[in-house]
Amino acid sequence: MEFLGLYNYWVFAVLLMIGFYVVIARPNMIKKLLGLSIFQAAVFLLYITMDKVEGGTAPIIQKGVEDAIYSNPLPQVLILTAIVVGISTTALGLALVVRIYEAYGTIEEDETQQRDLEQ
């Protein structure tokens, strides 16, 4: 059952597309940022999935245990960094949305364009 055995990757692909769709289809800026977060979270899942070694445990060396199998710690470290990047992006995006609301009185992308045209 290799097809189902890769279900983590299927979840990755589905989450990625859900996030992408929300970013493209929704004019509401908060929803766009939500979509962006889902989009990034999907990639975190990809990295975390690939580091899993079958039967592997957390990569912490213990006294007296010689033959333990460890999962690969590197992707986890990478994704920790990527999560920080994602949070910074979301925070900056939300700050921008607040400023846009102050300046335009709306957070719908089409309405902001409309108001720029009227000006």
Binding site: L16, F20, V23, M29, K32, L36, F39, Q40, V43, L46, Y47, M50, P75, L78, T81, A82, V85, S88, T89, L92, G93, L96, V97, R99, I100, A103, Y104, E109, T112, Q113, D116
Partner: protein, 496 residues
């Protein structure tokens, strides 16, 4: 360990550590002085590194003394050195000459934070150019992008905010695509180091994930580089950002993304994937040609000076990609040389626009009517940079366009078609640069905003420095061409 051996690390560390200091300094003048000093120091380091690369070949630096595949290495080759020169040079000129223009655009209470964001952007962009680690590139790319969003959102108009939001969404999607690609390559090779990846990709038996990775990385970086049709964020971001920020970004930010694209594609994929050179050319060449045509066509009818130049940038990115898509030595030399020369021309033009904007009410073409008579020196600088953009012999722009045409003629029928497009778009450039010149010298002055006189002298000096550099590198183009040839040789070493 002498200080000279640490220069690759200092290139990133100097601006990165100065940035938090600026937040503590507070006073706008003090912050400006410190930011400029840090930027000039980085420029000096970049010059020293370029001299070292030209003298003794690529530099290799192990961060923290960790050996190559385990630790992060910094690798600076000719292409990286050229990028460093562009980034730090553009930042230095913009900071030295842009103080008064920035003081007008940005609230004085926030100016020190603005300069801090500027230095972080410089650190991030330089980091991309020095690092030899694929994931490190992602981190530096996001550091520079986040700082860039702040710089653009500092624009005086509320439209700067929506432009930044659009850029943030598209930029993050691009970076995430790149991250997916790096993840897939890591999954198949178990390494993130470019040099190590290059060797190990050859041993991968199942090429499909690598091919998918190549697709994700190319599209992601194309988004960051504003390759047509993924350029939608660029015109608004350039138009509504503070003028000096536009001059800095137009000179280097999109080119850094192209740098990563070239490096990844030619070092990791070209030698190892079947038919990749063909797929790469067939994907990028049509986009490059369309970008050249559409960018030039829109620039011919656009009424806003900054937006006009932004669309011209879309076309110029097309030139760079067109050269790269030939995947030949002549083509890559032209592409890399054009990165340098376009940075000079477009940086000069946007600086001149910033200078003119100090004295007129807006940057629409109708606003600059008659400025040639009121500020002759500034306008003359604008005309020289414009001539370089068109590619008039004797200016830097001519050198790389000539190289590009030569490369195109080596490519057979397709190359001749490409050459025709390049010539057509150069004619279009004559039209849109002439529209600016015509308004500036023969247009009727706008009713309001009749401040007479030249731009402030530091800004004028900056414009002329870049304008003279355009002429200097047009008459004796040895430095950029030597770097470009060396870069092309390095990029192509895996191809027959």
């Amino acid at each position: 360990m002498s200080l000279a051996a640490q220069l690759p690390a200092l290139q990133v560390v100097v601006p990165l550590l100065t940035a938090p200091l600026l937040v503590l300094l507070r006073g706008p003048s003090l912050a400006w002085a410190a930011a400029t000093a840090a930027s000039l120091t980085s420029f000096a380091i970049a010059i020293a590194l370029t001299a070292a690369v030209l003298g003794q070949g690529a530099l290799h630096y192990e961060m923290g003394g960790w050996q190559a595949p385990f630790g992060i290495t910094l690798d600076i080759d000719a292409l990286g050195a050229l990028m460093l020169l562009l980034i730090t040079g553009a930042s230095s000129v913009a900071l030295v000459s842009g103080r008064e223009s920035l003081a007008r655009d940005i609230d004085p209470g926030r100016l020190h934070l603005f300069y801090a964001a500027w230095l972080i952007a410089v650190a991030g962009l330089s980091g991309i150019a020095v690092t030899g680690d694929a994931f490190n590139v992602f981190v530096f790319m996001e550091i520079s992008s986040l700082a860039t969003y702040v710089l653009i959102a500092a624009g005086p108009d509320r439209r700067a905010l929506t432009a930044t939001f659009k850029y943030l969404i598209m930029g993050t999607i691009g970076a995430t695509f790149y991250l997916i690609g790096v993840g897939l390559v890591y999954m198949m090779t178990g390494t993130l180091n470019f040099a190590d990846m290059e060797v190990r990709v050859a041993d991968v038996t199942d090429q499909l994930p690598i091919l998918v990775a190549a697709g994700f990385i190319t599209v992601g970086l194309a988004l960051k580089a504003a390759v047509f049709p993924l350029h939608l964020w660029l015109p608004n971001a350039y138009t509504h950002a503070p003028h000096i920020v536009t001059a800095f970004l137009a000179a280097c930010s999109t080119k850094v993304a192209i740098y990563v694209l070239l490096r990844f594609d030619f070092f990791v994929f070209q030698g190892n994937l079947e038919d990749h050179a063909f797929q790469f050319s067939m994907f990028l060449a049509p986009l490059a040609l369309l970008g050249i045509l559409v960018g030039s066509a829109v620039a011919m009818v656009e009424g806003n000076l900054k937006r006009l130049l932004a669309f011209s940038s879309v076309a110029q990115i097309g030139y760079i990609l067109l050269g790269a898509s030939f995947a030949s030595e002549a083509g890559l030399t032209a592409a890399v040389a054009h990165m340098f020369n376009h940075a000079l021309a477009k940086g000069g033009l946007f600086l001149a626009v910033a200078a003119i904007a100090m004295r007129v009410s807006g940057v629409r073409l109708t606003d600059i009517g008659g400025v040639g008579r009121r500020m002759p020196w500034t306008t003359a600088g604008l005309v020289i940079a414009g001539a370089s953009l068109v590619g008039i012999p004797g200016t830097a722009g001519f050198v790389s366009k000539w190289l590009l045409l030569q490369a195109a003629f080596q490519q057979g029928t397709l190359g001749i078609m490409a050459a025709v497009v390049v010539i057509l778009s150069s004619l279009a450039a004559v039209v849109y640069v002439w529209r600016i010149v015509e308004q500036a010298y023969f247009g009727e002055p706008a009713a309001e905003g009749i401040t007479v006189g030249e731009a402030p002298w530091p800004l004028l000096a900056g414009v002329w420095m870049v304008a003279l550099a355009n002429i200097y590198f047009g008459v004796s183009p040895e430095l950029p061409v030597a770097l470009a040839e060396s870069a092309a040789g390095e990029l192509l070493r895996h191809l027959p």
